[in-house]
């Protein structure tokens, strides 16, 4: 804390006394806290507290250990084991990785998936930000805000698979979109790109995952004090500068979290790729899935390990854009 004696300036007298009051309040608060602590500080109180904390965190920790940490460790282990006809045996080998390093197909696919995910993240950001902005800032009634947010969540009311499958009658050669475009005379023959193509997979994944971008953006934007936007305008910022200088910096944690969600989810995708890609499109996910299906567990495990490493790299890069610990 600054010492009042250091203070200078035109309002010295006034400032001094307010500062005194504030300091006195603070000291009083601290003293009361100390006393409260002193009364509690019996033997073993601290130990008991630690136990209580441990008890609260135990279920979550156990869950994570059994269902996340252990499986991931298993995958890493299996990736170093030897393949047998019916699965694998615990004989150490680097064969799986040797094979992967020599496989151009795998590396191209990993790079492709990485790149695709980044494109989807960027598209989700560009398309999702206006939606989140509209919901969080343009809509002023809280009731309307919640109602519209629930509507925005509508895709989650049905299963993921149904949403993916629903693309086929919509986007197929004889699908609704092609038929409509033909009827309107905009195209002379059906567009093939709408289904079973890279483009189709990208658009479908964007549609499926954009909400994971909109939701964190919405929550960050909704926290912004509207009067701070008025203050920015008041101090001479036009609407663009207000956006760049006040809104965007405060929304950054949402941008990063949303990007991580979308990146991780699309990077490991295989079901959408299977359904919308119709066997024409592959991803790292489908490669792993194929390897699992052909009982090449150690090979699949090694492929998965690199996928996870690639995801970590992506997350690491994304985290550079915002100091989440401080700003959230």
């Amino acid at each position: 804390m600054s010492r009042p004696s250091n203070r200078e300036g035109g309002l010295k007298a006034g400032g001094l006394r307010t500062e005194d009051i504030e300091q006195a309040e603070q000291m009083l608060g601290e003293r009361m806290q100390e006393r409260a602590l002193g009364e509690q500080r019996g033997a073993g109180v601290r130990g008991r507290r630690a136990l209580v904390t441990a008890a609260w965190t135990a279920p979550g920790a156990l869950w994570l250990v059994f269902f996340l940490l252990a499986p991931v460790l298993m995958i890493v282990l299996v990736s170093f084991w030897t393949r047998t006809v019916s699965g694998f045996e615990s004989v150490w080998t680097l064969e799986n990785y040797e094979f992967l390093f020599q496989s151009n197909v795998y590396w191209n696919q990993l790079w492709d998936s990485f790149w695709h995910s980044l494109v989807i993240v960027a598209a989700a950001l560009v398309l999702g930000f206006p939606v989140a902005y509209f919901l969080a800032i343009s809509v002023t009634s809280l009731r309307m805000q919640i109602a519209l947010f629930i509507v925005a969540l509508a895709p989650f009311w049905t299963s993921y698979l149904i949403r993916a499958v629903a693309w086929i009658p919509m986007m197929g050669r004889q699908g609704a979109l092609n038929t409509a475009l033909e009827e309107l005379g905009l195209i002379s023959e059906p567009l093939d790109i709408l289904l079973f193509s890279d483009f189709a997979v990208t658009v479908a994944m964007l549609q499926l995952y954009i909400l994971f971008m909109i939701a964190p953006l919405f929550f960050m934007l909704a926290q912004i004090d509207r009067s701070s936007l008025e203050a920015a305008r008041d101090l001479g910022a036009n609407s663009f500068k207000t956006f760049r200088e006040v809104i965007l910096p405060q929304a950054m944690p949402g941008v990063v979290i949303g990007s991580i969600f979308v990146f991780i989810l699309t990077m490991g995708e295989f079901a959408t790729v299977r359904i919308i890609g119709g066997g024409q499109v592959a991803s790292v996910g489908t490669i792993v899935q194929t390897q699992v299906a052909s009982v090449q567990f150690p090979q699949a495990a090694a492929s998965a390990v690199f996928l996870v490493v690639a995801m970590f790299l992506g997350v690491f890069v994304l985290l550079r854009f915002s100091n989440l610990r401080e700003e959230l």
């Binding site: 600054s2 250091n6 203070r7 200078e8 300036g9 035109g10 309002l11 010295k12 006034g14 400032g15 001094l16 006394r17 307010t18 500062e19 009051i21 504030e22 004090d225 009067s227 701070s228 008025e230 203050a231 920015a232 305008r233 008041d234 101090l235 001479g236 910022a237 036009n238 500068k241 200088e245 006040v246 910096p249 405060q250 700003e327």
Partner: protein, 383 residues
Amino acid sequence: MGREQALTHHEGAAAAAPSKPSASSGLALRSLTKRFGEDVAAVDDIDLHIEHGEYVVLLGPSGCGKTTTLRMIGGHEEPTSGDIVLDGQTLLGLPPDKRPTTTVFQHFALFPHRTVRENVEFGLKMHGLAKDARREKAQEALEMVGLREMADRKPSALSGGQQQRVALARVLVMEPKALLLDEPLGDLDRLLRLRMRVELRSLQRQTGLMFIHVTHDQEEALSVADRIVVMHEGRIEQVADPYTISTRPENVQVAAFMGDNNIFHGTITSREGERLSLEAEDVEICAIAAQDGLEVGAAAAVSVRAAAVHVDVHDESAKGPNQIACAIEVVEYLGDLVKLHLSAGGKRLLAKVAGERYPEFRGREGSTVLLSWKEEDVQALQS
């Protein structure tokens, strides 16, 4: 003085006529109206002129239109009709960033992701000032509000009073033509509020800027203002200096809102020149009033300030005009003064006497006292 101020207000009304040249300096509101929806006029045809260097307070209960008026001046709300003219030029149609006004918002509205210094520099940065010049001016402003050492902290690390000062420094650095304050002390606790209002007053004196301050707190208004504009239901009820507002309320709304006024409604029984008597709720009241329209037989209202009444504990019956016997209901001791809550035949009255007299009244609830006042302390009100 009070009459003069009232005249200024009427001149403002005349300025609404298009024939009046608009080259005058200062801020003029002309027939300013704001409607939300069809029927609700938040601000209803107000006229007001404010000079540079003047500290004006818009005072009124919530919903009286004071904040809407301020927001229209700042450009955060578009008037439905009327004009806002600053130094001869209309501000209508200009967005807030193009207006030479800045606002201190009620909840400070600091930018949480920026340091104190960056908050203060923000406006200058938006106006394209170079970094060094910016820094220097921000430093000056921070010193002015006594926050030099806090420059590198985030607003969340400051107390309410310090945040308030940052908000002030942030607008002072802009050297606006008019500084608008929207309930600036509303978020502070009482002790800090009392201190900050003195600081506001002294800042305004130092800078010589036009301050327009919105509040619902009568005491705050009296403490800081050169001139108080009392508003009620979208209209201006009275414009005058604090002393006049306090001692000579023009009408029932002002007298009631300022509080601590005893208001009597009655009928005029006689009039000789400026002296008039009225029969009001079992009391005969004599007053001196120059207003027109106070004819014998007409209904009239008068007010007597709680601080202007004399309380006699040894006398129990009224013997003439401007006297009334009351029962003490509650004795409220406030240190410097004692508030006596009284009742006379169902009518509630209030008297304020010096704190030293508290022993006379302690424990005297239920006993009868005689209230009296001088005729020059009776203020005739327009209804």
